[in-house]
């Protein structure tokens, strides 16, 4: 003890850092195993909807070429083979437990509507996955807002820009924007025939052509000394 007290403060701190570093060899920061479900916490997440990703956001991420998330398609194999969102991986809900997902990544789930992804969200949360998100409205909404969005009729300058953006985005993903006629609830295609959903690209799309999109500037984290 006397020898330790004879050390300078810096030397004591260095010794402490060394011991803590040595201890780190035997621990893992991400503890697996038993996970307790906290209903109040889950309820708060559900209510605040912070577990949702919108189709607009997802389309932006794909077009920007972001790689900081995993997109999981929960539908059956046939539906996945027919069409899936670019970059999506196929994991049926029954195999989710064995899927090669780690807790250290952002996972976005989608199914046709929202029910299966909500159930899968709960399964993953219960297994201790924290970064799990649901694509709001699922593939149905993706189809309605990204692949075949309805354009404003007789647009002003703001809507015209929006129309342009939606049209470019739809084409980027192999879809086609539509316009809504008068009082008709059914939108009709702009072109002679819309590209069928099955024709949409099934692999990750390349970088968008210049001017094809003007995604809203994302909040960037400020870092540095």
């Amino acid at each position: 003890m006397r020898r330790f007290s004879a050390l300078s403060l810096n030397q004591k701190l260095a010794a402490l850092a060394f011991l803590l570093g040595l201890g780190a060899l035997f621990i893992s920061p991400a503890r697996g195993g038993a996970v307790s479900i906290r209903p109040d916490e889950l309820a708060r997440i559900v209510q605040t909807e912070i577990d949702h990703v919108t189709t607009d956001d997802l389309a932006d991420w794909i077009m920007q070429g972001r790689a900081d998330y995993r997109l999981i398609d929960l539908r059956d194999e046939k539906a996945y083979a027919e069409y899936h969102i670019p970059g999506a991986e196929h994991f049926p809900i029954t195999r989710l437990a064995d899927a090669s997902l780690t807790r250290n990544e952002r996972i976005v789930l989608y199914s046709d509507g929202g029910i299966h992804s909500a159930q899968a969200w709960f399964l993953l949360r219960a297994r201790g996955y924290q970064g799990v998100y649901i694509l709001r409205g699922g593939l149905d909404e993706w189809r309605d807002t990204v692949l075949f969005p309805v354009l404003a009729v007789a647009p002003g300058s703001f809507e015209a820009r929006r129309n342009e953006r939606l049209q470019a985005r739809a084409v980027h993903f192999g879809g086609q924007a539509r316009v809504s006629t008068g009082g008709s609830p059914e939108p009709v295609p702009v072109a002679a025939a819309p590209v069928p959903v099955t024709a949409a690209p099934v692999v990750a799309a390349p970088a968008p052509p210049p001017g094809a999109s003007a995604p809203a500037a994302k909040k960037k984290k400020k870092e540095g000394c």
């Binding site: 850092a17 621990i27 893992s28 920061p29 790689a67």
Partner: protein, 203 residues
């Protein structure tokens, strides 16, 4: 209660800004107390006669790393929700070089320039005004820079992934690297030092 609090929705954007402001003030205070409000002190690391910047920054890295590791192990912090900067290799190398050149020429990096301005230094003020000006120019040029901005996309990479080592082993190696670096810095200060370095640096 689990961290990170913001991601669990325990407070909103407004509260997070207030907390960020408080943390920023604290950060600036400690930068100033470490002597980093002075450009002379900061650039002397490039002349190898005072490596306080290296030591303070590496100490911060080791402290944060050990804190994250142990809090994650205790279950207080969910490491999987801690923000990781995606790797865009080439633009990040370019950005690092630009920042480095600016640091050598002017003597400040962004945080220290604000700390310096707060102490009334005019050169710090010039730097702090240059920050929003540079941000504005970058934003205006972004359409032309966008293609380069997204090159070298490696996604979210961590040292354990890249090196294929366990998290604990990487932590241990970084601690060893820091301790070796501190010792080496003291030796360099002994050789190149002007004699006004703090006492502990010459031990």
């Amino acid at each position: 209660m689990n961290a990170p609090f913001f991601k669990y929705g325990m407070f909103g954007d407004e509260t997070s800004l207030v907390i960020a402001f408080a943390i920023g003030i604290g950060f600036g205070f400690f930068l100033e107390r470490a002597g980093f409000g002075s450009a002379r002190k900061l650039v002397s690391q490039f002349y190898l006669n005072d490596l306080a910047v290296f030591k303070v920054m590496f100490t911060a890295i080791v402290t944060a790393m050990l804190g994250v590791t142990y809090l994650g192990w205790l279950g207080v912090l969910d490491v999987s929700l801690v923000y990781l900067t995606p790797t865009y290799l080439w633009p990040q190398i370019a950005g690092g070089l630009i920042l480095g050149f600016g640091f050598v020429i002017g003597g400040y990096c962004p945080g220290t320039s604000v700390a310096s301005m707060a102490t009334g230094r005019v050169d710090g003020l010039a730097f702090a005004l240059g920050l929003p000006a540079g941000t504005f120019v970058f934003a205006e040029l972004f359409p032309w820079l966008k293609r380069f901005f997204l090159t070298g996309d490696f996604g979210l990479r961590t040292l354990p992934d890249v090196l294929g080592l366990s998290h604990g082993l990487v932590v241990f190696l970084v601690v060893l690297m820091a301790l070796g670096g501190f010792y080496g810095a003291s030796v360099l200060e002994g050789i190149f030092g002007t004699g006004d370095a703090p006492d502990d640096a010459r031990q």
